[in-house]
Amino acid sequence: MIKALQINKNFEQGVIELLKFLLENGKVKGVFTLKKISKDGTVAYSLITKPDELKDAVPFYPLMPVNAGKLLSRFTLKGSTNKPVVAVVKPCELRAFVELIKREQGSLENLFIISSTCGGVYPLKMAADGTVEKNLPKYWDAVKKGETLTELRSACKACEEFIPYTADMTVDLIGKSDIDKKCVILLNNEKGEELAKGMKGEFLAKELDKAKMDKIRSKREAEKKKLFDEIETKMNGMDGLIEIFGRCIGCHGCMRVCPICYCKLCEFESSDSEYRPSNYESDLKKRGGVRVPPGTIYYQLGRLTHIGISCVGCGSCEDACPVDIPLSLIFKKVGESVQKMFDYTPGKNVEEDIPLVTFEKEEFAEVED
């Protein structure tokens, strides 16, 4: 049992009141959360300093226009924030931020994190079509029942990491039928407790319903297995890879929106990967023809080896792809198998080294000759 703050309002109102309290009392100088930013209902992350602006905040909106981990990294890239800021982000976004911190691409100092148990997000195509708003009741209904909608991002349908690891506060959402009336915010650590002190509400001892969480997790696991098996039949060797990535136009949108891809100049856009006329000529000696621009499979496999170890399975890549390649499942599947090999969960612990920068003196005898 840990300390929790219970506010007798619906979950969104409760959190907004907490955020308002934090701003008004100077406990934070800024709030980072999803907000309705235009009259047509566009939702985007915003940095809010005036309590009044919180009226348009939608902290748990089922949309991820950009992985917030990337945004928090950009916010703290040039140095940690010298004024306290609180951010409301989803579990995978937090994990991505932690992975970026390990790569010296951000800092948690002076940053308070509020997350929640996550019911997933809708694909960005729905935002482009303007159909998210009308599907909100359906979404929250499913969240309350602990179910996963088929319309969600495939990465979300297959996600077992819906409970945040390192948040200072966790809003208990999925599988709870009373979130319309009660907002329960678990205070996971001292930072969380300090932050909530003085807020209007009941302070109780609470915890997540472990049995319910396990049930939801096994449902997600089953869906994951199904989706992974489907992808596996397509990725069956060279020909399978060529087919599945055949539509790829090399826009590298997946790389640009990926929170883990932080390189200023991506290897696959640098002169390292550029073909010279002599490369084309020698390639054409072997093959009758060469796809232009070349290196589609090279790029995809290369990116898998670069970020697979830290892939948090958020699914931003698939939403950015103009030709609908099932990227999030491919990267999630390969990523998880690499992570499993090292018993590593990306974003679980900011102190834990990324497996490829450390080693044991005796290990992996099976890959040696």
Binding site: G240, L241, T296, I297, T305, E362, V367
Partner: protein
């Protein structure tokens, strides 16, 4: 390649300067026989080998890729080969997961004095690759 010619694989071998390259050299000076399938590339340490080199070689049509370094604990730069091992394990897992023949990739530890071991590794690996056949990536257009 004529039909009746036996398939001689092209195996790219990344050999670390201090151990495996010297070992390969020793195999040569000792006149040990092994198939002419190996195309050696000398690197200062096996940890210089970026997985992208291996992927580039594979997609370029190499039938096999060998990465060889000092025995763990004996790395000239102290711990390079420990990282190599992890990186190689990751690369092998990635190729397995996407259904490419991960058996075409091999990690070996060969010290400077192990000429015979180098020759044996080269021979064994060549045999294995012969059984796997030619790398189909050689002829692909839409890579």
């Amino acid at each position: 390649m004529k039909k009746d010619e036996e398939f001689m694989p092209k195996i790219l071998a990344f050999l670390c300067n201090w151990c495996s390259y010297a070992g390969a050299d020793m195999a040569g000076t000792s006149r040990l026989k092994y198939p002419p399938s190996i195309l050696p590339i000398r690197v200062m340490c096996s940890s210089r080998v970026d997985p992208l080199f291996v992927i580039r070689a594979y997609l370029g049509g190499a039938d096999g890729v060998l990465v060889a370094g000092c025995h763990p604990g004996d790395c000239h730069y102290d711990k390079g080969n420990y990282y190599t091992r992890r990186r190689f394990a990751m690369l092998k897992k990635v190729t397995e997961e996407v259904g490419l023949e991960s058996d075409r990739l091999r990690l070996s530890w060969v010290s400077a004095s192990e000429g015979p071991r180098y020759a044996k590794t080269a021979t064994d690996f060549t045999e294995k690759i012969k059984k796997l056949g030619e790398n189909s990536a050689k002829n692909k257009i839409f890579l």
